[in-house]
Subunit: 208 residues, 2 copies
DNA sequence: TAGATTGTTAATCGATTAACAATC
DNA sequence: TAGATTGTTAATCGATTAACAATC
């Protein structure tokens, strides 16, 4: 009974979560689909359908949904309860920023190791140990880590990607501005700054 | 004749650009829609339609498109030639990472100022001057800057957002995990790590 | 000429929205 | 009870894909 969920819904879920948590922090116990729809500028039916997909309890007519229940349901659905272990490759400015970000665990991901080609001697960034590149394949394999974060310059991104896959990595979060070539079974999520900038610039032009 | 372009196409454009530039670097002069489609795992017709939306020259049967022409067309469309000025608010780890990233200008954005509440005395990060928060409104107004980047902790994000809008900012690139409330005419683009993680975790689960 | 590739028209698919009966 | 809100079925809308004639 693993319902396959539309990608757009998946994108909205974390946003629902943010809105719902804000409402809860403001002292509310129940929420209606129109409350959420208004905060997020969405259609109420869309909200109801999305929530129906992830929760097993129905909302109550004339009352809405219990905030804490729906929050728990979304978190469970997104896997925020089962922590996935990840490694990061590349500990430059961006890598450090990601390592310093305290909030990832909250989202079900824990960066337990970092690798960098300049790490002649192991060191730590924000308590995460950083090892030399050359130990990467071995360590990832032994620890059965599934998620790899690529935060290296674009020239070496494909190469790092290949190594990660050879080490058994199943999902890649790519911050390098390149189109990585991977086998079908590996999932790549591009954190593409260029894509964001494209959207921003175009909306700005559109509205002026 | 400002064609309104589907958002999905807009998202794909920077990726086309990456693929096309790689091909050019490999010494190619022409590209066919099937080459691109294969590299990006898309349908060839989709590629042709996307490219048709942004280029004014037609492709040539039995030959494809001239690489340099289509690259130029996409770049022009995405506004990479007209540089937009931006400010960044919050110069912590993330803010520094963004300021250190050399590549933004290439994408038509130039972060010309930063603001931080700890900047008692102005300083620079990677040659960008950082001023104290309190001078923000004044400076942004005088310089007619349109894009604001929010890289502050989530508790103060909404407040910073309000100030940016009061200063005349028209587009916001938000890295804080909150749903910002803004007037309709302001465009917000959320760089939502939680959203990315949601997609990654779910794909990982789906495939196991 | 034959073949590869194009752009376009029509068909399909999926996501969003509208309409509405059910119910706390 | 009346009203607000729900979930569901049908309609709409838009994006993707299939089919195909045109052409270098």
């Amino acid at each position: 009974m693993v319902k396959s969920i539309p990608e757009n819904t998946l994108r909205r879920l974390p946003q629902y979560l943010m809105v719902l948590k804000t409402l809860r922090a403001e002292g509310n116990y129940y929420v209606s689909s129109s409350d959420i729809a208004e905060a997020m500028q969405l259609n109420t039916v869309l909200v109801r359908k999305d929530l129906a997909l992830v929760s097993h309890e129905n909302g109550k007519p004339n009352q809405g949904r219990e905030l804490s229940t729906i929050i728990k349901d979304i978190e469970a659905f997104l896997g925020y309860n089962t922590i996935n272990e990840a490694v990061i490759v590349g500990v430059g400015m961006l890598g450090r920023a990601l390592l310093s970000y305290q909030g990832f665990k909250e989202y079900g991901i824990d960066i337990i190791l970092g690798f960098d080609e300049n790490a002649e001697h192991p060191y730590t960034v924000n308590k995460t140990p950083i090892y030399h590149h050359k130990t990467m394949r071995n360590l990832i394999k032994r620890m059965h880590i599934q998620i790899g974060i690529i935060a290296v310059p674009k020239k070496v991104a494909q190469q790092v990607c290949d190594e990660l896959i050879a080490s058994g990595i199943k999902a890649i979060w790519n911050f390098a501005p390149v189109n990585l070539e991977v086998p079908r079974e590996v999932y790549v999520h591009n954190e593409n700054m260029a894509e964001s900038l494209a959207l921003i610039a175009s909306k700005l032009k559109e509205r002026s």
